[in-house]
């Protein structure tokens, strides 16, 4: 099983970057000083899509063995991260950061009831529902772990401009896995809305998210 959609990824990311530059509306940064209004500034942490992109249907299974499809993205802001549980460095680092992001959002006035964090394993070969449950809930009890077959993973990854590659070799217990390190933000209408680029900083992400949610709030739900 070797999955490679890097060309698609590059084309997609280039298109997104060009579109964003043309629109001149890269990033939301808000100045809340009296009399000032929301302004858009270029930002390295979060890139907003000029037009949020509705996602197509998909069929995954979550860590409780329940179906996890497009409808599970409706009504909530979803942070999506691709990875695998045998990942010693990038994945635990990112999940620990996302746990702090969630904590920050939960402490804020608007809370975290309309927010979910979804870890998408690109290694269904090793990441069973049981393994995913042990893994994601360790970082935060509310985190979801999902996975699906290669076709389902490939479709969603393609729509987000993400990429992954699993170099399974017969009889090998350990094998290389590559995956996009970005964190994707899907809005409550199940549209791909923004992407966060590494290296991640919990405060940088949660602050931007809270601003975006406040701006989009009435429109997005």
């Amino acid at each position: 099983m070797v999955k490679k959609i890097s060309l698609k990824f590059i084309v997609m990311m280039t298109a997104v970057a060009l579109a964003a530059m043309l629109c001149g509306a890269w990033l939301a940064a808000v100045y809340r000083e009296s009399g000032s209004r929301a302004i858009f500034l270029p930002d390295r942490v979060m890139t907003l899509l000029p037009d949020p992109k509705p996602l197509a249907a998909f069929a995954f299974t979550d860590h409780e063995n329940r179906e996890f499809g497009l409808s599970r993205l409706n009504g909530k802001w979803s942070f999506l991260f691709f990875g695998y549980t045998h990942c010693p460095d990038i994945c635990p680092t990112t999940l620990a950061t996302l746990a702090r992001v969630r904590e920050n959002i939960a402490k804020g006035a608007a809370g975290a009831k309309d927010v979910q964090f979804v870890f998408i394993s690109v290694d269904p070969n090793r990441d069973t529902a049981g393994k995913l449950r042990q893994y994601v809930t360790y970082f935060d009890a509310s985190f979801l772990g999902v996975t699906g077959d290669d076709a389902q993973l490939g479709n969603l990854a393609g729509e987000l401009g993400a990429a992954y590659q699993v170099e399974v070799k017969p009889g090998m217990e350990s094998y290389p896995v590559y995956h996009t390190a970005a964190v994707f933000l899907v809005d409550p209408r199940a549209r791909y809305h923004a992407v966060f680029a590494p290296p991640f900083d919990a405060e940088g992400i949660s602050r931007r998210f809270e601003v975006l949610r406040a701006l989009e709030g009435p429109k997005a739900t």
Binding site: S6, F9, I10, M13, T85, H86, C87, P88, D89, I90, P92, T93, A96, K131, Q134, Y135, Y138, F139, A163, Y164, Q165, S174, P176, V177, Y178, H179, T180, A181, P198, P199
Partner: protein
């Protein structure tokens, strides 16, 4: 070369031993930590700041620990827009320089710990340098 004078020979070998010890003392590690393993998980990573206070370069070639099945020196890398890992067979530590092992970069990949690791535990790992120098380091397990 033959040393006819036993005292001089003794002095020379003592000097060599001292030099070796000094060299060893010249390489040090600070802020050494290992990430706590989530329940049931078999992989984790070790991080540190590796300092070479000597005037010579040193080459880190391996690491070992009785606490894990394998210890490999790895580096997280970007490849075609994706993140992955590659084995770093040797890392040169420049004279009077520090090398950072940190999340997203160089790390010790630790697989199949002999026992579950919990925050506050200590783990011993020996770093091996070219030329036979071995440096035992104690890592603190952190969440």
């Amino acid at each position: 070369m033959r040393w006819r004078h036993p005292v001089l020979a003794g002095l020379i070998s003592a000097l060599i031993a001292l030099t070796a010890a000094a060299e060893e003392a010249g390489i040090s590690v600070r802020d050494a930590w290992v990430r706590e393993t989530p329940p049931g998980m078999t992989m984790t990573a070790g991080y540190m700041v590796l300092q070479n206070k000597t005037s010579r370069p040193h080459v880190l070639v391996a690491a070992s620990s009785s606490g894990f099945e394998t210890v490999t020196i790895h580096r997280s890398i970007a490849k075609q827009g994706m993140t992955g890992m590659e084995h770093a067979p040797q890392i040169e530590l420049l004279p009077n320089a520090s090398l950072l092992f940190a999340p997203g970069g160089y790390h010790l990949m630790l697989s199949n710990p002999k026992r579950a690791l919990h925050a506050g535990d200590r783990v011993d790992i020996t770093l091996k340098f070219r030329g036979g120098l071995a440096l035992p380091v104690t890592y603190e397990v952190r969440k």
